[in-house]
Subunit: 222 residues, 2 copies
Protein backbone atom coordinates (compact mmCIF):
# COMPACT_ATOMS: atom_id res chain seq x y z
CA UNK A 1 0.00 0.00 0.00
CA UNK A 2 2.56 2.52 1.12
CA UNK A 3 -0.26 4.82 2.05
CA UNK A 4 -0.43 8.40 3.22
CA UNK A 5 3.02 9.87 3.42
CA UNK A 6 6.05 7.74 4.10
CA UNK A 7 8.45 10.20 2.59
CA UNK A 8 9.35 13.59 4.01
CA UNK A 9 6.78 15.46 1.92
CA UNK A 10 5.48 18.42 3.81
CA UNK A 11 1.89 19.68 3.51
CA UNK A 12 0.37 16.17 3.67
CA UNK A 13 -0.36 14.36 6.93
CA UNK A 14 2.65 12.33 8.04
CA UNK A 15 2.33 8.55 8.07
CA UNK A 16 2.87 6.54 11.21
CA UNK A 17 6.26 5.52 9.96
CA UNK A 18 7.28 9.13 9.50
CA UNK A 19 5.92 10.01 12.93
CA UNK A 20 8.08 7.29 14.44
CA UNK A 21 11.19 8.50 12.64
CA UNK A 22 10.54 12.02 13.88
CA UNK A 23 9.92 10.83 17.40
CA UNK A 24 13.15 8.84 17.32
CA UNK A 25 15.08 11.90 16.19
CA UNK A 26 13.54 14.12 18.82
CA UNK A 27 14.06 11.66 21.67
CA UNK A 28 17.57 10.67 20.65
CA UNK A 29 18.60 14.30 20.28
CA UNK A 30 17.52 15.29 23.75
CA UNK A 31 18.21 12.19 25.78
CA UNK A 32 20.24 9.26 24.51
CA UNK A 33 21.41 7.10 21.63
CA UNK A 34 19.04 5.64 19.05
CA UNK A 35 19.29 1.99 20.05
CA UNK A 36 18.84 2.92 23.69
CA UNK A 37 15.32 4.17 23.00
CA UNK A 38 12.30 2.09 23.90
CA UNK A 39 9.59 0.83 21.61
CA UNK A 40 6.88 2.04 23.95
CA UNK A 41 8.65 5.35 24.48
CA UNK A 42 8.68 5.90 20.73
CA UNK A 43 5.01 5.04 20.39
CA UNK A 44 4.15 7.46 23.18
CA UNK A 45 6.14 10.32 21.63
CA UNK A 46 4.61 9.67 18.21
CA UNK A 47 1.10 9.42 19.63
CA UNK A 48 0.75 5.85 18.41
CA UNK A 49 0.08 2.45 19.85
CA UNK A 50 3.26 0.67 20.97
CA UNK A 51 2.69 -2.17 18.54
CA UNK A 52 2.49 0.09 15.52
CA UNK A 53 6.26 0.15 15.66
CA UNK A 54 6.38 -3.44 14.43
CA UNK A 55 4.28 -2.62 11.38
CA UNK A 56 7.23 -0.64 10.03
CA UNK A 57 10.40 -1.88 11.70
CA UNK A 58 11.68 -5.21 12.91
CA UNK A 59 13.73 -3.76 15.76
CA UNK A 60 15.52 -0.63 16.92
CA UNK A 61 18.53 -1.25 14.71
CA UNK A 62 16.19 -1.31 11.73
CA UNK A 63 14.66 2.01 12.71
CA UNK A 64 18.08 3.48 13.37
CA UNK A 65 19.19 2.57 9.88
CA UNK A 66 16.07 4.17 8.44
CA UNK A 67 16.80 7.35 10.36
CA UNK A 68 20.34 7.44 9.04
CA UNK A 69 19.29 6.74 5.48
CA UNK A 70 16.80 9.58 5.61
CA UNK A 71 19.47 11.87 7.00
CA UNK A 72 21.91 10.87 4.28
CA UNK A 73 19.39 11.57 1.54
CA UNK A 74 18.35 14.92 2.97
CA UNK A 75 21.92 16.08 3.30
CA UNK A 76 23.37 14.77 0.04
CA UNK A 77 20.55 16.03 -2.13
CA UNK A 78 21.27 19.75 -1.70
CA UNK A 79 24.98 19.03 -1.84
CA UNK A 80 24.60 17.37 -5.21
CA UNK A 81 22.52 20.32 -6.39
CA UNK A 82 25.24 22.74 -5.33
CA UNK A 83 27.79 20.59 -7.11
CA UNK A 84 25.89 20.81 -10.38
CA UNK A 85 25.76 24.60 -10.27
CA UNK A 86 29.52 24.67 -10.03
CA UNK A 87 30.71 27.70 -8.20
CA UNK A 88 33.91 29.62 -8.60
CA UNK A 89 37.20 28.38 -7.23
CA UNK A 90 37.24 30.83 -4.40
CA UNK A 91 33.72 30.23 -3.22
CA UNK A 92 33.53 26.48 -3.63
CA UNK A 93 34.61 25.47 -0.14
CA UNK A 94 32.81 28.27 1.67
CA UNK A 95 29.55 27.55 -0.11
CA UNK A 96 29.76 23.87 0.73
CA UNK A 97 30.41 24.55 4.39
CA UNK A 98 27.62 27.11 4.50
CA UNK A 99 25.27 24.57 2.97
CA UNK A 100 26.08 22.01 5.63
CA UNK A 101 25.67 24.60 8.37
CA UNK A 102 22.35 25.61 6.87
CA UNK A 103 21.21 22.01 6.85
CA UNK A 104 22.19 21.77 10.50
CA UNK A 105 20.15 24.87 11.27
CA UNK A 106 17.10 23.41 9.58
CA UNK A 107 17.56 19.89 10.99
CA UNK A 108 19.36 20.32 14.30
CA UNK A 109 18.15 17.05 15.78
CA UNK A 110 19.16 15.05 12.72
CA UNK A 111 22.62 16.59 12.64
CA UNK A 112 23.15 16.00 16.33
CA UNK A 113 22.07 12.39 16.12
CA UNK A 114 24.14 11.86 13.00
CA UNK A 115 27.36 12.99 14.62
CA UNK A 116 26.57 11.12 17.79
CA UNK A 117 25.93 7.83 16.06
CA UNK A 118 29.16 8.20 14.11
CA UNK A 119 30.81 6.93 17.28
CA UNK A 120 27.79 5.05 18.59
CA UNK A 121 27.48 1.45 19.60
CA UNK A 122 25.83 0.02 16.50
CA UNK A 123 28.41 -1.04 13.88
CA UNK A 124 25.84 -1.03 11.09
CA UNK A 125 24.78 2.54 11.81
CA UNK A 126 28.38 3.67 12.20
CA UNK A 127 29.32 2.15 8.88
CA UNK A 128 26.36 3.72 7.11
CA UNK A 129 27.38 7.14 8.38
CA UNK A 130 31.02 6.58 7.46
CA UNK A 131 29.87 5.61 4.00
CA UNK A 132 27.91 8.84 3.70
CA UNK A 133 30.92 10.82 4.81
CA UNK A 134 33.15 8.96 2.36
CA UNK A 135 30.74 9.82 -0.43
CA UNK A 136 30.55 13.50 0.47
CA UNK A 137 34.31 13.64 0.87
CA UNK A 138 34.72 11.95 -2.50
CA UNK A 139 32.55 14.58 -4.15
CA UNK A 140 34.48 17.34 -2.44
CA UNK A 141 37.79 15.85 -3.55
CA UNK A 142 36.56 15.55 -7.12
CA UNK A 143 35.38 19.13 -7.21
CA UNK A 144 38.64 20.45 -5.86
CA UNK A 145 40.54 18.30 -8.31
CA UNK A 146 38.51 19.53 -11.27
CA UNK A 147 39.05 23.12 -10.22
CA UNK A 148 42.75 22.51 -9.79
CA UNK A 149 42.67 23.78 -6.26
CA UNK A 150 45.00 21.11 -4.95
CA UNK A 151 47.91 20.70 -7.37
CA UNK A 152 50.47 18.06 -6.51
CA UNK A 153 48.23 16.01 -4.29
CA UNK A 154 47.48 12.46 -5.39
CA UNK A 155 43.96 11.06 -5.22
CA UNK A 156 44.60 8.99 -2.11
CA UNK A 157 45.86 11.94 -0.12
CA UNK A 158 43.03 14.08 -1.38
CA UNK A 159 40.47 11.58 -0.17
CA UNK A 160 42.12 11.31 3.23
CA UNK A 161 42.20 15.05 3.65
CA UNK A 162 38.67 15.50 2.38
CA UNK A 163 37.36 12.97 4.87
CA UNK A 164 39.08 14.74 7.73
CA UNK A 165 37.61 18.00 6.51
CA UNK A 166 34.08 16.64 6.27
CA UNK A 167 34.24 15.13 9.73
CA UNK A 168 35.59 18.40 11.08
CA UNK A 169 32.79 20.35 9.44
CA UNK A 170 30.21 17.98 10.89
CA UNK A 171 31.64 18.41 14.35
CA UNK A 172 31.65 22.16 13.91
CA UNK A 173 27.94 22.13 13.22
CA UNK A 174 27.37 21.04 16.81
CA UNK A 175 29.21 24.10 18.13
CA UNK A 176 27.40 26.10 15.49
CA UNK A 177 24.05 24.94 16.86
CA UNK A 178 25.02 25.26 20.49
CA UNK A 179 26.42 28.80 20.28
CA UNK A 180 24.21 30.85 17.96
CA UNK A 181 26.03 34.09 18.86
CA UNK A 182 29.39 32.76 17.70
CA UNK A 183 28.24 31.41 14.36
CA UNK A 184 30.25 33.76 12.17
CA UNK A 185 33.32 32.98 14.22
CA UNK A 186 32.82 29.25 13.88
CA UNK A 187 32.31 29.48 10.13
CA UNK A 188 35.47 31.55 9.79
CA UNK A 189 37.38 29.12 11.97
CA UNK A 190 36.43 26.03 9.99
CA UNK A 191 37.20 27.69 6.66
CA UNK A 192 40.60 28.73 7.95
CA UNK A 193 41.17 25.18 9.10
CA UNK A 194 40.41 23.82 5.66
CA UNK A 195 42.62 26.36 3.93
CA UNK A 196 45.51 25.74 6.29
CA UNK A 197 45.23 21.99 5.91
CA UNK A 198 45.33 22.02 2.12
CA UNK A 199 47.94 24.74 1.81
CA UNK A 200 50.13 22.83 4.24
CA UNK A 201 49.59 19.54 2.48
CA UNK A 202 50.50 21.07 -0.87
CA UNK A 203 53.58 22.70 0.59
CA UNK A 204 54.77 19.47 2.17
CA UNK A 205 53.97 17.34 -0.86
CA UNK A 206 55.32 19.46 -3.68
CA UNK A 207 58.31 21.00 -2.02
CA UNK A 208 59.23 20.00 1.50
CA UNK A 209 62.17 22.45 1.80
CA UNK A 210 59.91 25.37 1.01
CA UNK A 211 57.86 24.52 4.04
CA UNK A 212 60.95 24.35 6.22
CA UNK A 213 62.05 27.69 4.85
CA UNK A 214 58.68 29.11 5.65
CA UNK A 215 59.18 28.21 9.28
CA UNK A 216 62.74 29.53 9.42
CA UNK A 217 61.75 32.74 7.66
CA UNK A 218 58.93 33.36 10.02
CA UNK A 219 61.29 32.72 12.92
CA UNK A 220 63.65 35.48 11.84
CA UNK A 221 60.92 38.00 11.08
CA UNK A 222 59.90 40.09 14.12
Amino acid sequence: MTSRNDRGDTKTAPSGRQKLLCAALKLAARSRSLQALGVRELGREAGLNPNTFYRHFTDLDDLSMAVIEELSRDLRQPLQALRRSIVSREENVVRTVELVFDFAKRNPDAMLVGVRELYGASPKVREALREMIRAVAGDLADDMHVMQMTPGLDDRTMRELAEVVVVQVFHSTLDYLEHPQRRDDILRQVVQFINALFVGAIALRTNAPVAKNLVSQALKKP
Copy 2:
Protein backbone atom coordinates in the same frame (compact mmCIF):
# COMPACT_ATOMS: atom_id res chain seq x y z
CA MET B 1 36.49 4.32 55.34
CA THR B 2 37.86 4.17 51.79
CA SER B 3 38.88 0.58 52.37
CA ARG B 4 40.57 -1.96 50.16
CA ASN B 5 41.44 -0.41 46.84
CA ASP B 6 39.40 2.38 45.41
CA ARG B 7 42.19 3.65 43.21
CA GLY B 8 43.57 1.89 40.16
CA ASP B 9 46.41 0.22 42.05
CA THR B 10 47.21 -3.13 40.56
CA LYS B 11 48.34 -6.12 42.65
CA THR B 12 45.78 -5.55 45.42
CA ALA B 13 42.21 -6.84 45.27
CA PRO B 14 39.94 -4.29 43.58
CA SER B 15 37.23 -2.69 45.67
CA GLY B 16 33.58 -2.92 44.74
CA ARG B 17 33.71 0.63 43.46
CA GLN B 18 36.60 -0.20 41.15
CA LYS B 19 34.84 -3.35 39.97
CA LEU B 20 31.81 -1.28 39.04
CA LEU B 21 33.90 1.24 37.13
CA CYS B 22 35.56 -1.59 35.20
CA ALA B 23 32.23 -3.23 34.49
CA ALA B 24 30.82 0.06 33.23
CA LEU B 25 33.78 0.47 30.88
CA LYS B 26 33.51 -3.06 29.56
CA LEU B 27 29.75 -2.93 29.02
CA ALA B 28 29.72 0.57 27.53
CA ALA B 29 32.54 -0.33 25.16
CA ARG B 30 30.81 -3.34 23.73
CA SER B 31 27.18 -2.34 23.78
CA ARG B 32 25.98 1.19 24.44
CA SER B 33 26.46 4.53 26.11
CA LEU B 34 27.27 4.90 29.78
CA GLN B 35 23.98 6.37 30.95
CA ALA B 36 22.07 3.75 29.02
CA LEU B 37 23.49 0.99 31.21
CA GLY B 38 21.41 -0.59 33.97
CA VAL B 39 22.17 -0.70 37.65
CA ARG B 40 21.42 -4.40 37.79
CA GLU B 41 23.37 -5.05 34.62
CA LEU B 42 26.40 -3.40 36.18
CA GLY B 43 26.08 -5.37 39.39
CA ARG B 44 25.85 -8.59 37.42
CA GLU B 45 28.94 -7.81 35.33
CA ALA B 46 30.91 -6.82 38.43
CA GLY B 47 29.79 -9.88 40.36
CA LEU B 48 28.11 -7.75 42.99
CA ASN B 49 24.68 -7.29 44.45
CA PRO B 50 22.54 -4.78 42.55
CA ASN B 51 22.24 -2.52 45.57
CA THR B 52 25.98 -2.22 46.07
CA PHE B 53 25.88 0.34 43.29
CA TYR B 54 24.15 2.81 45.60
CA ARG B 55 26.91 2.49 48.20
CA HIS B 56 29.24 4.28 45.80
CA PHE B 57 27.17 6.27 43.34
CA THR B 58 23.94 8.19 43.50
CA ASP B 59 22.95 7.50 39.89
CA LEU B 60 24.36 6.62 36.49
CA ASP B 61 25.44 10.17 35.76
CA ASP B 62 27.51 10.07 38.93
CA LEU B 63 29.21 6.85 37.87
CA SER B 64 29.76 8.19 34.37
CA MET B 65 31.57 11.20 35.76
CA ALA B 66 33.74 8.94 37.90
CA VAL B 67 34.64 6.90 34.82
CA ILE B 68 35.60 10.02 32.89
CA GLU B 69 37.63 11.44 35.75
CA GLU B 70 39.59 8.21 36.03
CA LEU B 71 40.17 8.23 32.29
CA SER B 72 41.37 11.84 32.40
CA ARG B 73 43.85 11.10 35.17
CA ASP B 74 45.20 7.97 33.53
CA LEU B 75 45.77 9.74 30.23
CA ARG B 76 47.11 13.06 31.45
CA GLN B 77 49.59 11.55 33.91
CA PRO B 78 51.91 9.98 31.28
CA LEU B 79 51.44 13.04 29.08
CA GLN B 80 52.68 15.30 31.84
CA ALA B 81 55.61 12.96 32.41
CA LEU B 82 56.52 13.13 28.74
CA ARG B 83 56.25 16.90 28.88
CA ARG B 84 58.75 17.12 31.72
CA SER B 85 61.34 15.08 29.84
CA ILE B 86 61.19 17.58 27.02
CA VAL B 87 62.03 15.96 23.74
CA SER B 88 63.62 17.44 20.69
CA ARG B 89 61.75 19.71 18.31
CA GLU B 90 61.46 17.06 15.66
CA GLU B 91 60.23 14.28 17.90
CA ASN B 92 57.88 16.24 20.11
CA VAL B 93 54.70 15.73 18.15
CA VAL B 94 55.40 12.15 17.12
CA ARG B 95 56.19 11.12 20.68
CA THR B 96 52.99 12.66 21.98
CA VAL B 97 50.88 10.94 19.37
CA GLU B 98 52.64 7.63 20.02
CA LEU B 99 51.95 8.02 23.71
CA VAL B 100 48.24 8.53 23.13
CA PHE B 101 48.14 5.55 20.77
CA ASP B 102 49.96 3.47 23.35
CA PHE B 103 47.44 4.48 25.98
CA ALA B 104 44.67 3.44 23.63
CA LYS B 105 46.34 0.07 23.13
CA ARG B 106 46.56 -0.49 26.86
CA ASN B 107 43.06 0.86 27.61
CA PRO B 108 40.99 0.25 24.50
CA ASP B 109 37.66 0.28 26.29
CA ALA B 110 38.41 3.52 28.08
CA MET B 111 39.50 5.23 24.89
CA LEU B 112 36.47 4.03 22.99
CA VAL B 113 34.08 5.18 25.69
CA GLY B 114 35.90 8.47 26.01
CA VAL B 115 35.51 9.36 22.35
CA ARG B 116 31.96 8.12 22.29
CA GLU B 117 30.86 10.18 25.27
CA LEU B 118 32.46 13.26 23.74
CA TYR B 119 29.30 13.43 21.65
CA GLY B 120 27.08 11.59 24.10
CA ALA B 121 23.82 12.65 25.65
CA SER B 122 25.04 13.77 29.07
CA PRO B 123 26.12 17.44 29.05
CA LYS B 124 28.13 17.04 32.25
CA VAL B 125 30.14 14.15 30.85
CA ARG B 126 30.63 15.93 27.53
CA GLU B 127 31.88 19.05 29.26
CA ALA B 128 34.28 17.07 31.43
CA LEU B 129 35.80 15.43 28.36
CA ARG B 130 36.01 18.74 26.51
CA GLU B 131 37.77 20.18 29.51
CA MET B 132 40.30 17.35 29.42
CA ILE B 133 40.88 17.92 25.73
CA ARG B 134 41.28 21.64 26.28
CA ALA B 135 43.90 20.94 28.94
CA VAL B 136 45.85 18.51 26.77
CA ALA B 137 45.63 20.89 23.84
CA GLY B 138 46.82 23.72 26.05
CA ASP B 139 49.87 21.73 27.07
CA LEU B 140 50.59 20.86 23.47
CA ALA B 141 50.28 24.46 22.40
CA ASP B 142 52.62 25.58 25.19
CA ASP B 143 55.21 23.00 24.27
CA MET B 144 55.16 23.95 20.62
CA HIS B 145 55.36 27.61 21.54
CA VAL B 146 58.36 27.04 23.81
CA MET B 147 60.13 25.09 21.11
CA GLN B 148 59.36 27.80 18.58
CA MET B 149 57.75 25.31 16.25
CA THR B 150 54.93 27.63 15.30
CA PRO B 151 56.30 31.09 14.65
CA GLY B 152 53.83 33.77 13.72
CA LEU B 153 50.82 32.10 15.28
CA ASP B 154 49.11 33.91 18.13
CA ASP B 155 48.02 32.06 21.24
CA ARG B 156 44.36 31.95 20.31
CA THR B 157 45.01 30.37 16.94
CA MET B 158 47.46 27.94 18.51
CA ARG B 159 44.85 26.76 21.00
CA GLU B 160 42.23 26.35 18.31
CA LEU B 161 44.57 24.33 16.14
CA ALA B 162 45.83 22.26 19.05
CA GLU B 163 42.28 21.34 20.03
CA VAL B 164 41.49 20.23 16.52
CA VAL B 165 44.67 18.18 16.53
CA VAL B 166 43.94 16.49 19.84
CA VAL B 167 40.40 15.62 18.79
CA GLN B 168 41.72 14.25 15.52
CA VAL B 169 44.30 12.14 17.34
CA PHE B 170 41.63 10.78 19.64
CA HIS B 171 39.46 9.81 16.71
CA SER B 172 42.41 8.17 15.03
CA THR B 173 42.93 5.91 18.02
CA LEU B 174 39.63 4.26 17.20
CA ASP B 175 40.81 3.34 13.71
CA TYR B 176 44.13 2.42 15.27
CA LEU B 177 42.38 -0.06 17.57
CA GLU B 178 40.01 -1.37 14.94
CA HIS B 179 42.64 -2.04 12.26
CA PRO B 180 45.76 -3.46 13.92
CA GLN B 181 47.37 -4.24 10.57
CA ARG B 182 47.23 -0.62 9.42
CA ARG B 183 48.65 0.93 12.55
CA ASP B 184 51.84 2.28 11.00
CA ASP B 185 49.80 3.78 8.21
CA ILE B 186 47.40 5.47 10.62
CA LEU B 187 50.24 6.89 12.69
CA ARG B 188 51.92 8.25 9.56
CA GLN B 189 48.64 9.71 8.38
CA VAL B 190 47.87 11.58 11.58
CA VAL B 191 51.40 12.98 11.85
CA GLN B 192 51.18 14.21 8.27
CA PHE B 193 47.86 15.78 9.09
CA ILE B 194 49.35 17.67 12.01
CA ASN B 195 52.35 18.83 10.00
CA ALA B 196 50.19 19.97 7.11
CA LEU B 197 47.83 21.84 9.38
CA PHE B 198 50.54 23.81 11.15
CA VAL B 199 52.66 24.46 8.08
CA GLY B 200 49.58 25.70 6.30
CA ALA B 201 48.50 27.86 9.21
CA ILE B 202 51.96 29.42 9.43
CA ALA B 203 52.04 30.04 5.70
CA LEU B 204 48.65 31.70 5.70
CA ARG B 205 49.30 33.74 8.83
CA THR B 206 52.79 35.02 8.19
CA ASN B 207 52.67 35.50 4.47
CA ALA B 208 49.49 34.87 2.60
CA PRO B 209 50.98 35.61 -0.87
CA VAL B 210 53.60 32.91 -0.33
CA ALA B 211 50.86 30.37 0.03
CA LYS B 212 49.18 31.54 -3.15
CA ASN B 213 52.50 31.35 -4.93
CA LEU B 214 52.96 27.85 -3.64
CA VAL B 215 49.77 26.82 -5.34
CA SER B 216 50.56 28.59 -8.60
CA GLN B 217 54.07 27.16 -8.63
CA ALA B 218 52.82 23.65 -8.08
CA LEU B 219 50.34 24.16 -10.90
CA LYS B 220 53.06 25.00 -13.39
CA LYS B 221 55.45 22.27 -12.30
CA PRO B 222 54.97 18.95 -14.16
